[in-house]
């Protein structure tokens, strides 16, 4: 299969796409929210490039996952941190890899427990088209098809790079 | 019935006899060792090759529970358990309901145990009425009906003065008194040995001095009154020293320790198991070592079961709330044999601690295989392992040894010439 794309040029394009999108939707004064860990790295970069004044929050969706019964708590839980009020705020939610959509579902539930946002724009670096829920990125880096038994992972924070890993047994 | 036991290794510690030979029994008596008497025709014979034949075990501390506490045990069930453990003579404690402080209760127990026929019971009478520690029981009447000694058990006397008078009275009629020394106020509220284990487990401790203070008082009064004294269930190293001292000074004091105290210590209170809640408590490993040494040297001449069966509900509660006591008479001999396996005692000496030792302490007509003696005999296999808990007989399953293997198996128990137990 073809080599994984470079992250840096993708991010340039995404920043441009995001700026267009926000202008088109007339979204003003948004806040960035990154999902640990890859989403946070990406959100930082995008924020710095597009809207350096915008605040940045981080989300650890551990307590909102739908697989607690089967898998328990993930090993390293970190506190979520949103240093701004969510009520009536436009949010830009950033994640690295969009797979089934369940992580985003959990993130949305968690965000709505903070308050009532005006809107949520979803930005993802990679969509591997394995959707199980009707969730789509508004701004996307690229779609990828993976060979069976493989996962893609964003490593970082410096440099940001995509790697392919076999699915853990 | 005429019975021959063939080819056993016959060990009679009382006469220092240890030989492979035959035993011949007729009409409840041992009539001959070795060659059968002239004209003796056995109706039944037991092939005892490879087995040990010992005098039936004599257990000086057993709670039969009946009359009155029959949820925990009955005379029938517990003497049957005794027979399975190779015990043919046992002394029952008077803390029944009603307390054994009148001849009628003694007669009831003797009559029922004889009817059950599994083991011979030598009851202890209560030293005081109702075991309340105040008014002396009718010791002579009780003796005449069959009580072999008197005790308060763990129940305290109302004062030293009353205790002294009771001992003097007993001494006057030459009846032995059995002591289980525990100062009630020092022991109050406690359920485990006062030490690092109890401290870590948050259990109120019973200090060693709860035993030694009462023991010191008892020994001084024994000396003053001249009563024949037996101490049952001492648990501390210090008590062993005090006992040895008293014996060295010529006092008439004997002692038995509980079998489980020779095997367990407070470090075993792993996980708060109420099966290990006993009074007096399991003490430190150093105390256990001293108890074992005292048994080895003979300062303690008897090992007893301190059999205390309980119904399940009494133990199925948190540790301190549970009723104290272990049910273990039916494994007395197998557990005792671990002392031989450990090299603490040779087999004849171990058997002495279980037969002529206890019998001699209280002058009981038991614990020997002499010609003309009552045919109370235990046959066991010293090699075949058995699993504790297999076919459990006692009404009380409160035994922490259940599930363990032991290096011996009681095969036959003969009481008064009748086979009362067979594996």
């Amino acid at each position: 299969m073809s080599a994984l794309p470079d992250v840096a040029p993708m991010l340039e394009r995404m920043a441009a796409d995001l700026t267009d999108y926000l202008a088109h939707r007339e979204i003003e004064n948004p806040a960035f929210v990154g999902i640990h860990t890859g989403g946070v790295w990406l959100a930082e970069r995008l924020r710095d490039q597009c809207l350096p004044e915008a605040p940045l929050g981080t989300l650890d969706i551990a307590f909102y996952r739908d697989d607690f019964e089967q898998n328990g708590l993930p090993p390293r839980v970190r506190p979520s941190e949103l240093p701004f009020s969510v009520d009536d705020r436009h949010l830009i939610l950033v994640d690295d890899v969009l797979m089934t959509g369940r992580t985003i579902r959990a993130a949305l539930n968690e965000l709505f427990d903070y308050g009532r946002p005006a809107s949520v724009t979803l930005v993802a670096l990679i969509d591997i088209e394995a959707r199980q829920l009707p969730i789509r990125a508004d701004v996307l880096g690229t779609s990828l098809t993976l060979p069976a038994g493989q996962r893609v992972k964003l490593t970082g924070p410096q440099p940001l790079q995509l790697t392919l890993n076999p699915v853990a047994k | 019935m005429r019975l021959t036991i063939e080819g056993a290794r016959v060990i009679d510690p009382a006469s220092q006899f240890d030989q492979i030979t035959d035993l011949h029994i007729d009409d409840g008596q041992i009539v001959a060792t070795g060659t059968a008497p002239l004209g003796f025709q056995a109706q039944r014979s037991i092939d005892a090759r490879g087995l040990i034949a010992s005098p039936g075990l004599v257990d000086l501390n057993v709670s039969l529970r009946e009359p009155g506490r029959t949820r925990k045990g009955t005379i029938d069930s517990e003497t049957r358990a005794a027979a399975a453990g190779g015990v043919t003579s046992l002394c029952s404690l008077p803390d029944t309901r009603p307390v054994l402080d009148t001849p009628a209760v003694a007669e009831l127990i003797l009559e029922r145990s004889e009817r059950a026929g599994h083991a011979r019971v030598f009851p202890f009478g209560a030293l005081t009425h109702g075991l309340e520690g105040e008014q002396l029981s009718e010791l002579v009447a009780l003796r005449d009906v069959g009580c072999v000694a008197f005790t308060q058990g763990l129940a305290p006397m109302k004062s030293n003065r009353i205790l002294r008078r009771a001992l003097e009275y007993a001494a006057g009629f030459d009846v032995p008194v059995v002591f289980m020394p525990q100062d009630p106020e020092m022991a109050q509220g406690g359920s485990a040995h006062e030490g690092p284990t109890a401290a870590r487990m948050g259990l109120v401790g019973i200090p060693e001095t709860a035993e030694t203070i009462a023991l010191a008082r008892d020994l001084l009064l024994v000396e003053q009154t001249g009563v024949q004294a037996h101490f049952s269930g001492l648990s501390s190293a210090r008590a062993m020293d005090m006992l040895a001292d008293a014996q060295a000074r010529g006092l008439r004091v004997t002692a038995d320790v509980a079998m489980y105290q020779l095997l367990l210590c407070d470090e075993d209170l792993d996980g708060f198991s109420s099966l290990l809640h006993v009074l007096p408590p399991l003490r430190s490993s150093a105390d256990r070592r001293a108890l074992r040494q005292a048994v080895q040297s003979g300062v303690v001449q008897a090992i007893s079961s301190h059999h205390q069966p309980h119904e399940q509900e009494a133990k199925r509660v948190p540790f301190a709330a549970s009723a104290p006591g272990i049910s273990s008479i039916e494994v007395l001999l197998p557990l005792a044999m671990t002392l031989v396996a450990d090299g603490l005692l040779e087999l004849p000496a171990l058997l002495a601690r279980l037969t002529c030792g206890p019998a001699g302490a209280l002058g009981l007509p038991a614990g020997t295989l002499a010609q003309g003696a009552r045919a109370d005999i235990t046959l066991f296999d010293p090699v075949e392992a058995s699993l504790i808990g297999h076919n459990w007989i006692s009404k009380g399953a409160n035994c922490p040894f259940i599930g363990q293997g032991v290096p011996c198996k009681v095969t036959h128990t003969i009481c008064n010439g009748k086979l009362v137990y067979q594996a």
Binding site: F63, P79 | E194, A199, G202, L203, D270, G271, R316
Partner: protein
């Protein structure tokens, strides 16, 4: 040597499934608990202070000893995990002919309780329940006799970590009735496991248990010596009964010798933390001004208590779930 078998609190993968005592738990597990609690603290600062982790689960608070404070924090913790909560206050008296502990809990289990939070006057009660009564229900020990109060210890550890950063260079003093204190026992164990190098207990001899050295602590009978340069002071509550049983002559003497006042606190480091499991006896073990003063984190302890209990409950539930799945798979395998 521990008095609780390791396998009782942990499942086949070493995850928590009952929380009975600090004893036998590794430094890694205690640290994981603190980290998880940190995340739950953040939840308490949101508009919606709930997460759906225990949704659909039933948590029973079974309290045989009265304690409004502890029970309400457990209740709040369970509700913030979206669990359904049942509160049972059972007064035991020696003359009452109520149901046995065994039967009470078996009946609750039959009503599909997923977790019991138990406080009982007998040491070893929580262990008894986990081992003999309801091994398949997560048991959280809210205090058993004098033995253990592990959630209190963990909230005390969280307090220390949040206000002092870690345990490596710390000097901690525990003052008061150590003998009767399950909090003291659990705290000594937790501090020791988490690597605190200088743990001190300060008490008169009558209030110290036998073999206290086994906890790896330094013993002081003189407060003014023991408090020197400590970073953290944990005061224990003195109960009135102690005077009656000959352990102490009077409250006054205790306060004079062991009371934490402005004067005695000054012997510790200038920014030393003042902690107390509560409820405090003003003027008996601690001066009012100190309890309410700048160095006191007593109220913070209460907040941290909710987060710690949320962490304990989630971890224990996850451990029980995993155990159940493992048992089902093992059963499935033997059926084939």
């Amino acid at each position: 040597m521990t008095s609780i078998p390791r396998h009782l609190q942990l499942n086949h993968q070493g995850q928590l499934r009952h929380f009975l005592t600090i004893e036998g738990l590794s430094r890694e597990l205690l640290t994981e608990l603190l980290d998880t609690a940190d995340s739950f603290l953040e939840v308490g600062e949101r508009a919606v202070k709930k997460v759906p982790l225990l949704r659909g689960k039933t948590v029973c608070n079974v309290f045989f000893e009265n304690s409004t404070r502890t029970r309400t924090t457990f209740e709040l913790a369970a509700k913030r995990l979206s669990a359904d909560v049942l509160n049972l206050n059972i007064q035991t008296s020696s003359t009452s002919k109520g149901e046995t502990l065994y039967d009470t809990l078996r009946n609750l289990e039959a009503m599909a309780a997923d977790m019991f939070v138990v406080r009982h006057g007998d040491s070893g009660a929580a262990h008894f329940i986990a081992q003999q009564v309801c091994p398949d229900v997560a048991i959280i020990n809210a205090g058993d006799g004098n033995h253990s109060h592990p959630t209190q210890a963990m909230l005390d550890m969280l307090t220390i970590r949040r206000h002092r950063g870690g345990f490596e260079n710390l000097s901690v003093a525990i003052v008061g009735d150590i003998l009767h204190s399950r909090v003291a026992r659990s705290n000594m164990q937790a501090l020791h496991t988490l690597g605190c190098p200088d743990i001190r207990v300060i008490a008169p001899r009558t209030l110290l248990p036998a073999g206290i050295e086994q906890y790896g602590v330094r013993v002081f009978n003189d407060l003014r010596v023991g408090l020197r340069d400590v970073d953290v002071v944990i005061m224990l509550r003195l109960q009135k009964e102690r005077m009656q049983s000959g352990l102490l002559p009077s409250e006054g003497e205790f306060y004079r010798l062991y009371g934490l006042t402005r004067e005695t606190l000054a012997l510790a480091k200038p920014d030393a933390l003042v902690m107390h499991p509560g409820p405090i006896n003003r003027g008996v073990e601690i001066e009012s001004e100190v309890a309410d003063g700048a160095q006191s984190v007593i109220l913070n302890q209460v907040t941290y208590g909710i987060a710690v209990r949320m962490a304990v409950m989630s971890m224990a539930m996850a451990g029980q779930n995993a155990q159940r799945q493992h048992n089902q798979e093992a059963q499935h395998a033997t059926d084939h």
